[in-house]
Symmetry: none
Subunit: 224 residues, 2 copies
């Protein structure tokens, strides 16, 4: 496991490094924000551990920049700033977990294991695909920053496809996302919504297109 550690207190840093390396992790330790951001951008770490108080700013500040740059590496914040609003702010800035110092090393290791059990990278609350961006939080579709209204069903289809952009979304998963479990749907209503959504994405020149995957479902990807 490759770990990037941003921590400016030498004692804390060496203690963490030692404990992690004892668990067969490879730790890259940096003390400055800028170094951390550059390392995270250029190397594929499995997880990033961030201290908030570092000499050149708030460690948390690199998270949105990394997410915007497409770096989805999980982030765990380690900090003495443990007030409720700090924790909430940290998580909503894009961190995956938030541990308040002092913490038990065993708990950090357990939380690392929990994060490593999950496959794939984290996705930011707001995703951008070329001219189009989507905010999963407030369900807003923006094209060139302009809000674009979508009917409810089409929005649900879009959201389900956007969550797994570039990968096939099985038909039953789409039906589940658009209707509930109980809701039984007949006919080709789902296809109709997909069709209308597809046309809108095209006419808005959103840079996204929806492809059918015969016998399986649908897939959305950037226009090639």
């Amino acid at each position: 496991m490759r770990i990037l550690l941003l921590e400016d207190e030498p004692e804390m840093a060496s203690a963490l490094s030692a404990a992690l390396e004892a668990r067969d992790a490879v730790v890259d330790h940096v003390s400055m924000l800028a170094d951390a951001e550059e390392a995270a951008r250029s190397l594929p770490y499995d997880v990033i551990l961030l201290d908030r108080q570092v000499p050149d700013g708030d460690g948390l500040s690199i998270v949105p920049r990394l997410r915007a740059a497409g770096v989805g590496t999980p982030v765990i914040v380690l900090t003495a700033r443990g007030e409720l609003e700090d924790r909430i702010g940290g998580l909503d800035t894009g961190a995956d977990d938030y541990l308040v110092k002092p913490f038990a090393m065993e708990e950090l290791l357990a939380r690392l294991r929990a994060i490593m059990r999950r496959p794939g990278d984290v996705r930011s609350e707001v995703v951008s695909f070329g001219r189009l961006s989507y905010d999963f939080g407030c369900h807003d579709v923006l094209i060139d920053g302009e809000r674009c209204e979508l009917p409810r069903r089409e929005l649900l289809v879009f959201e389900a496809l956007a969550r797994r952009i570039g990968r096939t979304v099985p038909r039953h998963a789409l039906e589940e996302a658009v209707y509930g479990f109980a809701d039984d749907i007949q006919s080709n209503t789902l296809d109709a919504h997909v069709s209308r959504l597809r046309r809108k994405l095209a006419s808005l020149e959103s840079g996204l297109e929806i492809h059918p995957v015969r016998g399986i479902g649908y897939l959305m990807r950037r226009t090639s």
Copy 2:
């Protein structure tokens, strides 16, 4: 967002439900272990919230059973048992996060958002053979990360062979995988699919090849 809530204290349960539903979540509330396990097995929730102390046991105990059954839904534990070893044990049992009561509702919501930023709720099974990888969940074949389209029948053949890579798959097992049990197939249709698949694997330089095993079936292995 669909949430399964296991909580036996009525006050806590209704407070949680109300707060979550105010955020547009759909909450299924159960008070017993057995109900929670059955619901989690049969319905695809986005996240499961578990209380540990419920009348018929420890809420955590269903997590390993769900994981073993292939249910990968994220789990957040909400409990009064907040000792260090409880937290570590909870995380290592398969929980994704662990919140100790009393907690601030806002923090739970933030941790929910953090978990929902992740791409899939279900751990999809992905296998890699050199340049090629296959995702059994969404049925995507990737070569060097690039999605490669396969017709449904060929995909089913590939899937059956990939499950037993390096070992012979008998003809009847392939037929069963590609068609149902009932479906009766005549002629050499299966061979035709194998042939087309083989050609594609070769022309894509996937690093995989399909060999016939005379009188038995077929076998897929890495190119030697």
